[in-house]
Symmetry: C2
Subunit: 133 residues, 2 copies
């Protein structure tokens, strides 16, 4: 009934493997749920990121705009030179090229979802930023 050549995707968080930064002290982890390497989708990349207590999403920037939505927990997000508190229900639009990051100094995991309007998450070129967080 669809004239779209892309098939629907029906999957679950549990179907994906967590990814970690190479910094073994940082327990940040994420899964790319839509737009990952084996995706049959297009136009959107979507994933989930967990920051356990003490974890950091190191400050970085990329050309693409990004949306964050906090699903659970509390933390702080860096936006350029500002630190903003976030909690379950917080939503952020991060314009392209703006330095951003996140930290969780609470005692519970901070969980957020992120999205880009790109076919593949690998289309997004991440650049680290020398910024304290």
């Amino acid at each position: 009934m669809s004239d779209n050549c892309f098939a629907p995707l029906v999957a679950h968080l549990a179907d994906y493997t967590w990814q970690y930064l190479s910094d073994s002290e940082n327990q940040l982890r994420w899964k790319t749920l839509v737009g990952g390497p084996e995706a049959t989708t297009k136009g959107m990349s979507f994933g989930i990121c967990e920051l356990p207590p003490g974890a950091r999403l190191p400050p970085h920037h990329h050309a693409e705009d990004e949306v964050y939505y906090v699903v659970e927990g509390n933390g702080e997000v860096l936006l350029d030179d500002k630190i903003v508190p976030v909690t379950s229900g917080s939503v952020l639009f991060v314009p392209g090229n703006l330095v951003h990051g996140a930290r969780n100094d609470s005692e519970a995991t901070l969980t957020l979802v992120w999205m880009f309007a790109v076919d593949r998450w690998s289309d997004v070129a991440y650049h680290g930023a020398e910024r304290d967080l």
Copy 2:
């Protein structure tokens, strides 16, 4: 530090008003968090939808691809002529023009987030579909 003329958005679910269908028996409700009528963002539209027990998201289609992610609860999603069970952590990519909908026959609220790669949610033209759900 950004060469992007769009300012960051930092907001919270609680800052927005719930929207309802005109069908007063259907308690489905949603909030457009990114890409709503007063948005200063671009490229992505993102929102949250709650289906209390018994609620329906009536079958419909639109030209744009859509992503769903189930934040909480259990329910069923219609994709063309298939009904698929969803639960917290389910992720779906709904290709443009595919008929889809959702129902919650459980005893707890089903909460999902949705997104489109459009500047404004109002850019998406919804078309109802004659399909049982």
